[in-house]
């Protein structure tokens, strides 16, 4: 019977492709919008992910995210180092500064001061140059987003000079970093250099990055740090989460994308529901005949289920492929840099497709189930 069901479905090309379009469009809309949403809010955690060594971030109790921070006295580093379970701890400075480019333009940049000796706090990979270029005096490493903001395409930023707080800074490398939410240009430099690049305030140490000894859980050590130093310590996942939550709480992004996703869902329900109902209505006599001949309601539901399943599979596939192609095509664009499709999202849209088909299928099948087989004689 499923053989017949599939042929009934594909025999009506117009409705079949209409259904595919409906499901595919919904899947594309839901998957793609959720992907952009997740990637966009995850930009709030880019600062955390750009420092891959840090298992624990220690900060002033009022600091909230990598960008919303309040500096601590320099001895905070030693306090953290004193806590048992802390394998290592290094200073980390994040501050805003104004930079004067060669053309004389003033641009706001984020200056990130990484540990002088070990350069812990740098992104994992470099696009150009080595991390060790930071050991040179006055050297900074710019992130790749900043390169596109400061320099025309094709111009290598290596060796370019910037003026930071009346100090000379020379770009010696380009880091392969995840852009921040605001796509601010980021300059990495050594902690001691950063102190000079950033206008002086009393306390400068914004974060202490810490590693954890083997055999101790980061959460436990973070709790210990909080207890013994009075500072705030968050493990990497939680601090990333804080950054994401900050974006979610302080921007309209969730609402916007939420609306689009709901629209995608509603459009899917509408298109698929209408088309499916029309399809079933067109075939209601055939279904009635089948019922009279001796096909149980269960098998009729199986047939409609198979039709929904085929439409769902192909439509879903088209939508997911569309999203993957979209992300791949735009991955070169700085706005989409580092965008990925979290594996959960296709599952979410799969569930949405199943729900759409379940709703519309049930609505459509009701008329079939209610059809009296006796109707075929009238």
């Amino acid at each position: 019977m499923l053989w017949i069901a599939i042929r009934m479905l594909t025999g009506d090309a117009q409705k079949f492709y209409g259904l595919l379009f409906g499901i595919g469009f919904s899947t594309l809309l839901i998957t793609q919008q959720l992907t952009i949403f997740v990637n966009l809010v995850e930009r709030g955690a880019s600062g955390v992910y750009n420092a891959p060594e840090a298992e624990i971030w220690v900060m002033d109790p009022v600091s909230r995210t990598t960008e919303v921070n309040y500096a601590m006295p320099a001895t905070a580093l030693d306090k953290v180092r004193s806590v048992p379970g802390v394998e290592w701890a290094v200073p980390h400075l994040r501050a805003q500064a104004s930079v004067r480019t060669k053309d004389g333009d003033l641009e706001g940049v984020a200056v990130i001061g990484v540990d002088d000796a070990t350069l812990i706090g740098m992104p994992a990979r470099m696009k150009e140059g080595e991390k060790s270029v930071l050991f040179a005096p006055d050297s900074v490493v710019i992130d790749d987003t900043g390169t596109t903001r400061f320099f025309p395409a094709g111009v290598s930023p290596i060796g370019e000079r910037l003026e930071l707080n009346d100090q000379r800074a020379v770009i010696m490398g380009v880091a392969d970093a995840i852009p921040s939410f605001t796509s601010t240009v980021v300059l990495y430099t050594r902690y001691s250099n950063a102190l000079n690049f950033v206008p002086g305030t009393r306390n400068r140490l914004t974060f202490v990055l810490a590693g954890v000894q083997d055999g101790v859980s980061p959460a436990e050590v973070a709790a210990r740090i909080e207890r013994e130093t009075g500072l705030k310590a968050q493990i990497r996942e939680n601090f990333a989460r804080s950054g994401i939550d900050f974006i979610i709480e302080n921007t309209g992004i969730p609402t916007n994308f939420g609306i689009t996703v709901v629209l995608g869902f509603v459009v899917g329900v509408a298109i698929v529901g209408l088309t499916f109902s029309l399809f079933i209505r067109d075939n209601i006599k055939q279904f009635g005949a089948l019922k009279a001949i001796g096909v149980t309601n269960g098998k009729i539901m199986g047939m409609v289920g198979a039709q929904a399943g085929l439409v769902g599979l192909i439509g879903y596939a088209l939508g997911v492929i569309g999203t993957v192609v979209f992300i791949q095509v735009f991955s070169a664009n700085p706005f989409f840099k580092g965008f990925y499709i979290p594996w959960q999202i296709p599952l979410v849209s799969l569930v949405a497709v199943i729900v759409i088909l379940a709703i519309t299928g049930l609505i459509a099948i009701r008329s079939v189930l209610k059809t009296e087989p006796a109707a075929v004689f009238r």
Partner: protein, 334 residues
């Protein structure tokens, strides 16, 4: 499927066979792309290990601090007691000097001239003494001669008084000349002392750490402190070296004084040495930031604890920053 109802001679149905297969392959490819493009969020180990405690301190209670290497004598800034042009510098940075060894000399020509002057004055005084002595002798003999004359008429009373006066004057001149000699000798002594002071000598045995003076430069006494000029010579006892560790006052109470510390130089966390306790400074001082300008305002006070570094073939140098880990007193959690 030769039985396709659409009849035709197509061997494949787009909607029933091509599409589902394409869809299935597409979903698999998409799943592969999605799963392989998941971002790398793993925690990576530091390429280079920062300063960290190990051994017993790794697990036990500990206090961390940043410190600076200094000579065990602390840093001695050598000045000069007399101003003048530098004539000769006898040491170079890195020289190990004994106590009293000349470090540099200041131009002594003026003093030597004064010494010659005083020599002349001494000779002059000596001549004056000789002259006064001979005059006194002449006057004395003449007076004696007059005294021996019985005949009062032969020598007038006035003659006698004149002779007595001359003898008296000659004795006074002699005394005066002797006093002049003493004065000239004293002046010569003074000049010799000053000459000695023009050679600046090491106050202690130790290593010359910095020389900021060169022949021909002008040095002057006293004024160097407080200005931005460096001391002429810096030296200190570097056998052994000490390390002065700043410990946050909040942490200081936990410190187990008297126990050795683990010290590693900045940037070479793996080269750890054990440093023995020397003393804790009785005065808690404002934290001096080691990385920033001197004008930084601070609200953190630190206890400074001195540890003695073992001999370590140039791994530690005076003024170098170090990371130190020290045992803390075992205690219940705060």
């Amino acid at each position: 499927m030769a039985l396709l109802p659409e009849g035709g001679f197509r061997s494949l149905s787009v909607s029933r066979q091509v599409l589902p297969v394409v869809a299935a392959i597409g979903v698999l490819v998409a799943a592969y792309l999605i799963l392989t493009n998941q971002p790398d969020r793993t925690i990576s180990d530091p390429a280079e290990m920062p300063a960290h405690a190990d051994g017993a301190l790794a697990d036990g209670p500990r206090v961390a601090g940043a410190g600076v290497v200094e000579p065990s004598s602390e840093l001695v800034s050598i000045g000069t007691s007399l101003g003048g042009l530098v004539a000769d510098v006898r040491v170079r940075p890195g020289d190990y000097v004994t106590k009293g060894q000349p470090l540099f000399t200041v131009d002594d020509r003026a003093l030597r001239a004064r010494l010659e002057e005083t020599g002349a004055a001494i000779a002059q005084a000596r001549a004056a003494i000789a002259e006064a002595a001979s005059a006194a002798e002449t006057a004395g003999r003449q007076l004696e001669l007059y005294r021996q004359v019985e005949d009062a008429a032969a020598v007038s009373r006035a003659e006698v008084i004149r002779a007595e006066g001359e003898a008296q004057a000659a004795r006074s001149r002699l005394n005066s000349a002797r006093a002049q000699l003493q004065a000239a000798q004293a002046a010569a002594g003074s000049a010799r002392t000053d000459l000695e002071r023009l050679t600046v000598r090491a106050p202690i045995a130790g290593e010359i750490l910095a020389v900021h003076v060169r022949p021909g430069e002008f040095v002057q006494a006293g004024a160097q402190q407080g200005g931005n000029s460096a001391p002429y010579i810096e030296m200190g006892q570097t056998r052994p070296l000490h390390v002065r560790v700043d410990i946050d006052e909040n942490e200081a109470v936990r410190l187990d004084l008297g126990k050795p510390a683990i010290v590693s130089p900045r940037g070479a966390a793996d080269q750890k040495v054990t440093a023995s306790f020397v003393r804790a400074e009785p005065l808690v001082v404002p934290k001096r930031s080691l990385t920033n300008s001197a004008s930084e305002r601070v609200d953190v006070r630190v206890l400074q604890v001195i540890y003695e570094l073992p001999p370590a073939d140039g791994r530690f140098r005076v003024g170098q920053q170090v990371d130190a880990f020290m045992p803390a007193r075992a205690k219940a959690a705060k």
